[in-house]
Subunit: 372 residues, 3 copies
């Protein structure tokens, strides 16, 4: 009997190792991808979280993941969650018209509007977008001595507002939304994009002015935040997905996307996951899921759309996805997500956030289309 | 060691087969029925879904199941869900006073009102019912060239409004609700009931006029939709449950119920589950859970109330329930539910809907009372 | 093969016994405590329940448990639930300004206000408290021939309002809240505290007047309700936690706490759990979780704060916690909770209530700090 128990215990202890080995040695098992995605979503729905309100950017980013999960799988478990969320929130963005963060939730509303005619009240989104683009606000002009030099003064903003504007432009068939978006996007690009490193500074605090006060990592490198750049390149994939092929400034986004993709590929860790500080992996030497999820999404999207070289990039995203999946607990929880922040900080197997789950779902939604 | 793993794998692979065999060979295990019901409800609560709003007919039908599950088990896990739902919905039916679909949610409100005095605001239900019965609307008179020839122009309506009217009549001790219901019920009966087949056409599109345009199955038979007839006979059980024994038109409902019950029994598939097209099982040759759940509920109710022959019908519902239970996944999800529709369509092990869970709960609630 | 199955079955059947033995033989395993707490909370969140509204005392008491669980573990899974709940309830207490039950939910709001500046609307709490303390109401003066002789006429009230007043006094740095609280507290103490037994009668119905009509247990003893006294001593721990060390009446609460603690220790059952009727354990001879949870919380708090003798009380609470944990099902549900009531009644392995889960979480939150 005792013998028996020992044997069983041994087998049970072995199981995770067996399955991990199995996964990384193999190609992507797509059935398994969808199962992981469903579990991640179910766990997240059972653990509602937000920083300010259910319509804030944390949920906004999460539901972009749910949106893409539905688009990719057509599994009604995802659309049910989207409709329920939008209905409860009365299809409203959050409060601050000048704040890009507060409109990303509408990305999901616009999707529900597409799959279910007549259900979504688009008026609050419409009003927000108009105010966001045109209503006077100090941020727009820049505040002396503050970080807010432009409307989209932090790189995360490039995920929060531009994809919504792109979809809304498509829906209304009105390119003026794209034109205005491009104007604002260029402001951020000019302010924060590092043309040598091909990465975005999170905000002006991380720009180098050649003085002693420049923020740097211990290894002397500039601080490029993984999630921050994840917001940008993830946002670029979303923008390019819905931007008309013949839009006059499309090439700008395409070029930027490719440049960043190459760099992201370059700084991937050998275990498949990116570190929170891209040029200083040793700062917190473990994979982080929100940044890695956005990268996996963005790069796989590029492969799937013939923009990135399939042969070159497929091993990158396959390895990344398998590593992401190992950050998911048996109960569905996606761990190793850096908490809300503005620069590299550590994560742990137990640190989760809705937007981390969102990044995981985004990654899965494109991985599913990879084929083998 | 390898040997050991193989053995364990073998046992695990065998388990479902063992348990299925075990179940069908045995009578109903009532402890097990309640466990299945609780799991079904828990899964459904964790996956809120609706087509138009949380108070629409899909949730309405689901919560009829939860209501009957509570009535039958007295397990507070069901009443907690009912109270929570009603409170969140402010005890309101959905919007359209003329649409039978929009009042079925009140079936649950009326039940909560019974088990918890003073909690439920009955005013919105009351107002809806009065408007529904008397307020002018084009459907009532019939719209030229459209399916809406009468207020209850589709057979599903016989589940959506009449049971609510019956309970409300009982609560207010006012038979005028029954009288008006009977008038409307007869209109539908006259329009859609097939007196030869003892089944309801879903709506006038499925009636035969003896022309080439008559809709028919590939085998040449009329199209009788399983769920559609499930709505009718399930509704009849609900109506008869609360209709006074001495109500003047009770015999009409009793006769209709018995006629349909005999036919339903006749067209059961040997595996225990009904096909979506009752007279053309080969169209989609697999069991479908929403129709089968309503049938199991309705027939078992008849046995439990001494209306159907116990000896004759018990094997029918026992086999049906065991087959229904095999459509439930380990996590509680009830599969094999045909999606929202108006005529036979296929289902799959992964297709679920709240009203399917409702039908499952209804079935279980009567199966529990069967005894062995 | 058959042999194999038998062996596996045997092992599986043995597992609970093995783990129970293991637990009681060992000291507290703190990692395991937090796991139990998270599971209890997750199950409860998935099974929302209330008696009158989501802001009533049942949820109020539950969320006091969630609050302390977060304070103790800092696990964001608890704060996420608190924020979500408060946001959905618009940070409102329930309706009746004169009813102590309706303000306990604000205990959690005040905590969220502490951990998340600017999120909580404190106005509804503020208004309730002022009205509660000063607005005229029949209960305040006492109603002739009714139980309501004073505002806090039942002992449960001492958990519902005083801890909220204490925290609010601390927040506003205004001791007038404490002074008024003390005045009301003394009224209840004078009316219901049994100075010989060192326990509270639930309300005046349970006081002895020396007549034949005195309510008593079959064994001739007075009826002292476990949960009722759990409310009081649990409330005392909460009050003492936040009452300034130099508050003029602090010693009254300290003395009362110690007196009750000694009595509670005395009437613990050898299996670690208290019976619903403290002086008549044989009435319902099984452990009950809500009372036992409050006792475990209160006594452990006393040990952790150097008020109770560590050596003397640690075995009491260790045994109690291990027994409490055995009342939790594998899925997280905390059973053996007496239903809503006002005097001893039986419970079962399947009887659960949100406030029972709250008591469990409170117990765990202090047990975690015990150290070994």
């Amino acid at each position: 009997m005792i013998h028996m128990i020992r044997l069983i215990k041994y087998v049970i202890r072995l199981l995770p190792i067996i399955s991990i080995t199995f996964l990384t040695a193999q190609k992507i098992d797509t059935k398994n991808v969808e199962v992981s995605m469903v579990k991640a979503m179910e766990w997240q729905e059972q653990h509602p979280i937000f920083t300010s309100a259910p319509t804030d950017w944390t949920n906004g980013a999460y539901y972009v993941g749910v949106t893409k999960a539905h688009e990719s799988t057509k599994n009604p478990i995802f659309s049910a969650a989207l409709k329920n969320m939008g209905y409860q929130n009365e299809w409203k963005p959050w409060d601050r018209f000048y704040h890009a963060d507060d409109i990303i939730i509408s990305y999901s509303y616009l999707y529900v509007n597409e799959i279910r005619k007549g259900m979504v009240d688009l008026e609050p989104t419409e009003r927000f977008l108009t105010d966001h683009l045109y209503k006077p606000h100090p941020w727009r002009e820049g505040i002396e001595g503050k970080d807010q030099q432009i409307l989209w003064w932090w790189c995360d903003a490039l995920f929060m507002a531009p994809p919504v504007l792109t979809v809304y432009s498509k829906l209304t068939n009105d390119r003026s939304y794209l034109d205005k978006m491009h104007e604002l996007y260029l402001e951020t690009y000019d302010l924060l994009y590092d043309k040598e490193e091909h990465l975005f500074a999170r905000d002006i605090r991380f720009l180098w002015k050649g003085t002693d006060k420049d923020l740097k990592e211990e290894n002397g490198k500039k601080i490029f935040w993984s999630r921050g750049n994840g917001w940008v390149i993830g946002g670029l994939a979303l923008i390019l997905e819905d931007m008309p092929k013949d839009y006059q400034h499309r090439d700008f986004y395409l070029k930027l996307y490719k440049e960043m993709a190459a760099k992201i590929k370059e700084v991937q860790h050998s275990d498949g996951l990116w570190r929170t500080s891209l040029l200083s992996p040793e700062s917190y030497d473990h994979g982080e899921v929100s940044g890695s999820g956005f990268y996996t999404f963005a790069l796989t999207w590029g492969i799937n759309n013939g923009i990135l070289n399939k042969k070159e990039y497929t091993p990158v995203v396959t390895k990344a996805w398998n590593a992401l999946q190992n950050c998911q607990k048996e109960n569905g929880m996606v761990g190793w997500v850096q908490d809300i922040g503005a620069s590299p900080e550590p994560a742990s197997a137990d640190s989760w956030q809705n937007f981390g789950t969102g990044a995981f779902l985004l990654a899965g939604s494109e991985i599913l289309k990879l084929g083998n």
